[in-house]
């Protein structure tokens, strides 16, 4: 069983799908691992470390793709590379299947079994394979660091002989995995943290990190059975905007993480809210890639709006590429070994299994995933 | 021999008294004092004999006064303690 790891081609993607430590485990489990030369370079892993771990290094990307029974990567494959894959190969990566219908069809056409890491269900049992969580977690940390670094003030309170510096105020919108980690990191740095989310259940979670939950009455909201937020009605969005305006106005840092899975991100922070902020304040928009929670944010740029900096980084986890690769890699390992059948030496992609049912998009030449099929 | 027994009883009671009271929150100092004070009105049990044993007049007068005083101590003591404690209770609950 050969596992192939092609180098990432997306610009700024510094992560790698497999790190040497995990490679070693796979080799020990009986897999043959081939890694394209230079894959791990930007995440801090040299080719030698892979060789030491038991992988072979290949410079021939095409043959590497063609021979892999399992192909592991971070980002979705180029449409023209799909054709190079083996018939029946299993391809595991992010896939964005909601928006990449064409790519999905191509994968099906070539008989590739494509697993989409975004589609791992968010159940307790699946958590160890849940790359969205593991990466969002790191993103939450990175956002706070970026904001703190940009801010012209310090986050903690300080009572010093030269006067008292009051703690900076941080407002986190959307307290999912990333939002919670952002809250925790900002709290750690000593900031006064407030947070808001449309799902009322997270109020307790926010408080469990020592932050304050901002109550805004939106009427009926809720979450889907998978734990994702439901989209808000336009009226609700308006109510939310009003309620948050005051809080945003007095915050030094605003961090938005509000995403609704598979759809464009809600526009939460509008231009007038940004205008109401103090000079020197910082806004970080995690949803910049899926449309942006913040008006005026732009991917991989720091936009200055009247002295307020809006930071939009499209690939936050890549900022801590070493750790992000380690976690992504563990997720893949857990996925592969969970379904690895020692006897038959195959991956047992049982459509009855709820995790496989969730994340397996194409199989045996067909789009098998219920949600994607009916899109 | 009675003295021996009485002394035994005295010694044991004193030890017991010391052991009984340990950490008492400040709010209970006054009620506890007042409650203990009411107990010391036990002299009443002795005063009955002085008042009712048909002794010389002076003795009976003294005894009756003793009964009156002891009763004040007992009745007043328990009632006042209860009043304090009831207030304390409702303040806590309210």
């Amino acid at each position: 069983m050969q596992i192939s790891v092609p180098a990432e081609t997306t610009p700024n993607e510094r992560r790698v799908a497999l790190i040497p430590d995990i490679t070693k485990k796979l080799v020990r489990a009986g897999f043959e691992v081939v890694v394209q030369s230079g894959s791990g370079q930007q995440a801090g892993f040299s080719d030698e470390t892979y060789t030491e771990a038991g992988a072979s290094i290949s410079t021939d990307r095409a043959s590497l793709l063609a021979q892999g029974d399992i192909v592991l990567r971070v980002r979705k494959p180029d449409a023209d590379e799909v054709g190079q894959l083996k018939q029946g190969a299993i391809h595991v990566s992010y896939l964005d299947p909601y928006n990449e219908r064409e790519l999905v069809d191509t994968l099906a056409k070539h008989g590739v079994s494509a697993i989409s890491m975004e589609m791992i269900p968010r159940t307790t049992r699946a958590q160890k394979m849940d790359a969205l969580s593991s990466q969002a977690n790191l993103a939450g940390y990175v956002m706070v660091l970026l904001a703190a670094e940009k801010l012209d003030r310090i986050l903690p309170m300080m009572m010093t002989p030269a006067g008292t510096l009051s703690p900076a105020r941080v407002f986190v919108i959307g307290a999912g995995v990333a939002g919670l980690q952002a809250i925790a990191t900002a709290k750690r740095l000593g900031a006064r943290v407030e947070a808001f989310d449309t799902r009322p259940v997270v109020a307790e979670q926010v408080q469990s990190l020592g932050a304050k939950f901002v109550e805004i009455d939106l009427g009926e909201t809720g979450q889907t059975k998978d734990g994702y937020a439901r989209e808000l009605t336009p009226e609700q969005l308006e109510m939310q905007r009003e309620g948050m305006k005051a809080v945003i106005g007095q915050s030094d840092i605003v961090i938005t993480t509000a995403q609704v899975f598979g759809r464009p991100a809600p526009r939460i922070v509008t231009g007038d809210m940004v205008a109401a902020m103090k000079t020197g304040s910082v806004v970080v928009d995690m949803a910049v890639d899926s449309g942006g929670n913040v008006e005026g944010s732009s991917p991989d740029e720091i936009v200055d709006v009247d002295g307020v900096s809006i930071i939009g980084v499209s690939n936050l986890p890549a900022k801590v590429a070493t750790d992000a690769s380690q976690m992504y890699s563990s997720n893949l390992f857990n996925l592969v070994t969970e379904y690895w059948d020692e006897e038959s030496k195959t991956l047992n992609l049982d459509p009855e299994d709820d995790i496989i049912a969730g994340c397996l998009i194409t199989h045996d030449g067909e789009v098998v995933n219920e949600t994607i099929k009916n899109l | 021999m009675e003295v021996v027994f009485l002394t035994f009883i005295l010694v044991l009671s004193i030890f017991l008294g010391f052991e009984l009271i340990s950490k008492v929150p400040a709010t209970l100092h006054t009620p506890l004092m007042s409650g203990a004070n009411a107990i010391s009105g036990i002299t009443l049990a002795g005063a009955f004999l002085s008042s009712g044993a048909g002794m010389a007049t002076t003795g009976t007068i003294l005894g009756t006064a003793a009964v009156a005083f002891a009763t004040i101590n007992v009745v007043g003591g328990y009632l006042v303690t209860d009043r304090m404690l009831s207030m304390f209770k409702s303040r806590k609950e309210g």
């Binding site: - | 009883i9 009671s13 009984l20 340990s22 004092m33 010391s40 002795g46 009955f48």
Partner: protein, 454 residues
């Protein structure tokens, strides 16, 4: 079965009820039930006492009980809630009077009085008398009928010594001739009452609760003595229970007021040193005594310094703060700008322990209201609370603003030794009248106090 045997069994039951009652009175949850139990015990004891075969005539008993019950019930209903302590003093005084009278009456009962009985009678008269007159004075001082200030006059100590001598003399003479008409007996009676007065007048109004508690203990002992005089078990048991538990309670109350029991016990016979600072005296305090004071405090201010950081005491400090808040006290943390060894040192630590930012106050905010602080707990701070920065022009740190903890009601200083701080300057705070030194590692000291609570 013998009726007196039955009565005595009833006494045993009532003794047990008293014991339970006292125990339960010590905890807020059970106090009220405790008081009822003890009242029930009293009812049983009194009923049993009425079966005594020595009683031939109930009429005077009824008179006495009715009069007493009316007075007691009325007084206890009418008294204002704020006047409770003086009311307790009055009740206590009547208890003392009752014991005195019972002892005295005993002399009229028996034809020939044994020496042992005579001694116990005299003790009942002595203790009862002191309790009675002492309680009246205490009442007077508390209700401000009398001047509540401590009354001191020259020669007081000599006068009191003579008084004691005279009492002893009269007592011995009365024992030798234990007749109810002996002038020595009246001597003892009069002198006892005088002694009660002399013992209480030199004590200031603020100390009165402690005095009443002590007199309460005495009234128990008086009942106990009366019990010996008339050979009654329940008087002995109940009396000595009250006597002993009263002493303990007095001690606890002293600690909560940060005074020592001997100080109160003998203040009538020594010179009164109130208000005079004893320069140069360091007063250490135990964790337990610190607990008693904190438990009674309603405004506590922590003043952390470098020592808190060294001891890594921030977490326990926070916990103590929360406990004190739970106990109804107002809690704040006063941060001096240069406390610690780097700017914001205290902030880092207190934030780590999750002390809410709202409870942190700056030096300039706490100083104007430091007089209202019952206890300022200085945790390993030194230079930043050194009054010589304010007062001593020659001090190298003169002119630096400090947190004026020396102006709080009580100051606890938690440090390991008398060593000086960063700037090497001696600190007169440690010798202050209202300062108590809690020596030891700050974390251990605070943990100790924390575990005293609960």
């Amino acid at each position: 079965m013998d009726i007196s045997l039955l009565a005595n069994l009833a006494y045993i039951v009532s003794a047990a009820l008293f014991i339970f009652g006292l125990k339960m009175l010590g905890s807020p949850a059970t106090a009220r039930r405790g008081n009822m139990l003890s009242a029930l015990g009293m009812l049983i004891a009194v009923a049993a006492a009425l079966t005594d075969q020595g009683i031939v005539d109930f009429q005077w008993i009824i008179v006495g009980v009715v009069v007493g019950a009316i007075i007691g019930a009325t007084a206890s209903r009418l008294v204002a809630m704020t006047a409770m302590p003086e009311m307790v003093a009055l009740f206590n005084g009547s208890g003392g009077a009752a014991s005195l009278l019972v002892g005295w009456a005993t002399l009229y009962g028996s034809a020939e009085v044994q020496t042992f009985t005579a001694v116990t009678v005299l003790l009942a008269i002595l203790i009862g008398g002191v309790t009675f007159s002492g309680s009246l004075i205490a009442y007077g001082k508390l209700s401000e009928t009398l001047n509540s200030a401590a009354l001191v006059f020259p020669g007081q100590r000599i006068f009191n010594s003579l008084l004691l001598l005279a009492l002893l003399g009269c007592g011995i003479m009365a024992c030798l001739d234990p007749s109810p008409d002996s002038p020595w007996l009246y001597g003892v009676l009069g002198l006892s009452l005088l002694l009660g007065i002399m013992a209480v007048i030199p004590i200031g109004g603020a100390d009165m609760p402690v005095v009443i508690s002590l007199l309460n203990s005495y009234s128990g002992l008086a009942a106990c003595a009366a019990g010996f005089a008339i050979n009654n078990n329940i008087l002995i048991v109940a009396g000595s229970l009250v006597g002993a538990s009263g002493i303990i309670l007095t001690n606890i109350m002293c600690k909560a007021m940060n005074r020592s029991l001997t100080n109160v016990l003998f203040s009538g016979f020594g010179a009164i040193k109130q208000g005079k600072a004893i320069e140069g005296e360091v007063k250490p305090i135990s964790v337990e005594d610190a607990y008693y004071i904190l438990e009674a405090a309603s405004n506590v201010c922590f003043v952390p310094g470098y020592g808190m950081a060294v001891a890594q005491a921030q977490h326990v400090v926070k916990e103590l703060g929360e406990i004190l808040e739970g106990n109804g006290a107002e809690v704040s943390y006063a941060i001096h700008p240069v406390a610690g060894r780097m700017p914001g040192h205290m902030n880092v630590l207190l934030a780590e322990a999750d002390v809410p930012y709202e409870q942190l106050v700056e030096m300039d905010d706490i100083n104007p209201r430091i007089e209202n602080v019952d206890v300022a707990i200085v945790i390993g701070a030194n230079d930043v609370v050194n009054p010589s920065a304010r007062e001593d022009e020659d001090s190298p740190i003169y002119g630096m603003p400090i947190i004026n903890v020396d102006q709080a009601r009580t100051v606890f200083v938690l440090k390991r030794s008398m060593a000086s701080g960063f700037s090497g300057v001696d600190n007169p705070l440690f010798f202050g009248e209202n300062t108590r030194m809690l020596f030891g590692d700050a974390k251990e000291s605070i943990s100790g106090v924390v575990s005293e609570f609960g």
